[in-house]
Symmetry: C2
DNA sequence: GACAATAATTGTCGACGTCAATAGTTGTTG
DNA sequence: CAACAACTATTGACGTCGACAATTATTGTC
């Protein structure tokens, strides 16, 4: 009979939970949660995105995006702008405050990850990251 | 500005979510969820455990254990037996039906994991598993 | 111009984690 | 040995989260 940790998928599930808890812990003081942070991070590379794009790329339901953008707009980190092409759509863009927030929390986020992978030496961390990336985005190969 | 997938911790979080969804998908027909499955798997190696041990080892709140054991007992996969040492405690043991269920779902679980790590060749899967194991249980080194 | 498709939004529902409170039992200590 | 602290399982409450249906406003199509 196979044990609990004999399964890579189950290990991923458990480590994912722990990682999420650590992230939420460090975000606690800012009043945001991991999902807000992920959205901000995505916007930082995208220079503005429609909400349906956020939904597709982050894997959250469109109805979840609404609440997240609401919270971030209230915090002053993003803005909803009308799309010139389609009056149904809103373009969500990072504000200067949002950009500053990301800069300030950058090293804290790194510390969380370092905490997580602490048992590994730098080369192993690199290996792990590369393997996870291939699983996460098979297209990039 | 760092992108979303530059962070190993965030990758773990996202892959953990995906892994959990895949597992819950394959468990759907049995009426159980990932948490039940994890509990059964743990019992398979432990030959009976107190509920507080389940709570500690699986990382679930004691109150969550109650419901999980209720469900599994109703399904006939586990039994609660009185502890001879301490009348407060209950010993949860796997029934024959539970053991059979685990045997029957074993290869389905493996298929889920194979699906997940599909982009990797066998040697890489081995490497990934070993690295994850070191993070999950630093004590085992 | 009727009608299907789409974007954002609202509301609902079940699952889940955390925490406080309780009943029954055990250990401790004065 | 009697009072009291600690522990085990359980119940209940509360907020979060993810999945889904329904609605409104707008766009595309035939």
């Amino acid at each position: 009979m196979r044990g609990l940790h004999a399964d890579t998928g189950y290990l991923l599930y458990r480590l994912g939970l722990r990682s999420g808890q650590l992230f939420n812990g460090f975000l606690q003081e800012s009043g945001l949660r991991l999902r807000h942070y992920a959205l901000l991070r995505f916007l930082a590379t995208a220079e503005g995105a429609l909400q349906r794009e956020l939904s597709a790329r982050l894997g959250y339901d469109p109805s979840a995006i609404v609440g997240l953008v609401d919270d971030l707009e209230r915090a002053g980190f993003v803005e909803r702008r009308p799309s010139p092409d389609d009056r149904r759509s809103r373009i969500v863009v990072l504000t200067d405050d949002g950009r500053t927030f990301l800069r300030n929390t950058d090293e804290a986020g790194l510390r969380v990850t370092n905490d997580l992978v602490q048992p590994l030496d730098p080369a192993e961390r690199e290996t792990l990251h590369a393997l996870l990336l291939r699983i996460a985005e098979p297209g990039l190969a």
